[in-house]
């Protein structure tokens, strides 16, 4: 009962924001992988498709890591 009485709604905001961030990032990852699949499957130049996909993955990974780092600082 004490737990409910001492419940502070603002304390769950970082968790909710984190959940929203991971859901959005998962959606972005799904569409990224789908695009890469289509690109590699139908491209007339597999090398170019792989190269662009790899460059995109590096940028995407760096952005996602930066987002997770910010998420860890939320209070």
């Amino acid at each position: 009962m004490d737990q409910f009485q001492n419940f502070n709604p603002t304390s769950v905001i970082p968790a909710v924001v984190g959940l929203i961030y991971y859901v959005l990032a998962a959606g972005a990852a799904f569409f990224s992988l789908s695009t890469m699949y289509s690109l590699i499957k139908y491209s007339k130049s597999r090398g170019l498709a792989f190269g662009v996909s790899l460059a995109y993955l590096v940028v995407w990974g760096a952005l996602f890591k930066a987002g997770v780092d910010i998420l860890m600082t939320l209070k």
């Binding site: 972005a28 569409f31 695009t35 289509s38 995109y56 995407w60 987002g67 998420l71």
Partner: protein, 158 residues
């Protein structure tokens, strides 16, 4: 082209936010809100990069091939919609090029409609560069094809 313009609008929104938040909402740059703002910008940038990647992939996978025998139209209309159509030059009845709108006229892109004989659906090349040149190329190839000695034999008899 239209997709890219919409993408640029989103880029402008990001730059405008960087420019005007310190002026009109400096409170957002203070401690409790700053990480949330950075997180929002981060996910916004992720989706912008994704948008650019998808726009380029759809552009790159849309191919039109014109040979002296047939026309091949490879359409990647969305991520999960891929269509390949082929048309023999002999079946062509009419070719029309179309440039509509300010941007199409300035940047010289538009549609080319290839009408085919019978019940076969007509071909459309959407938003291709220099549609008038493509139309002329198809008609020239059509004429060349009909001048070939074996073209009459290859043509379907109605």
């Amino acid at each position: 082209m239209m997709r890219l313009l919409v993408w640029f609008l989103f880029v402008i929104v990001l730059f405008a936010a960087d420019r005007y938040i310190p002026v009109y909402a400096p409170g957002l740059l203070a401690d409790p809100y700053l990480p949330y703002l950075q997180l929002f910008k981060n996910i916004y940038t992720i989706f912008m990069i994704l948008g650019l990647f998808m726009i380029w992939a759809l552009y790159y996978l849309n191919i039109q091939i014109i040979t002296n025998q047939r026309i091949v139209d490879i359409d990647q209309e969305s991520l999960f919609k891929h269509r390949v159509s082929e048309l023999d030059l002999v079946k062509i009845e009419d070719v029309t090029s179309e440039t509509v709108g300010f941007f199409s006229t300035v940047f010289s892109f538009g549609n080319v409609y290839v009408q085919t004989a019978g019940t076969t659906e007509h071909f459309v090349f959407y938003n291709i560069p220099h549609p008038d040149k493509v139309e002329k190329l198809i008609l020239d190839l059509y004429e060349q094809y009909h001048k070939l000695p074996n073209a009459a034999a290859a043509a379907p008899q109605e």
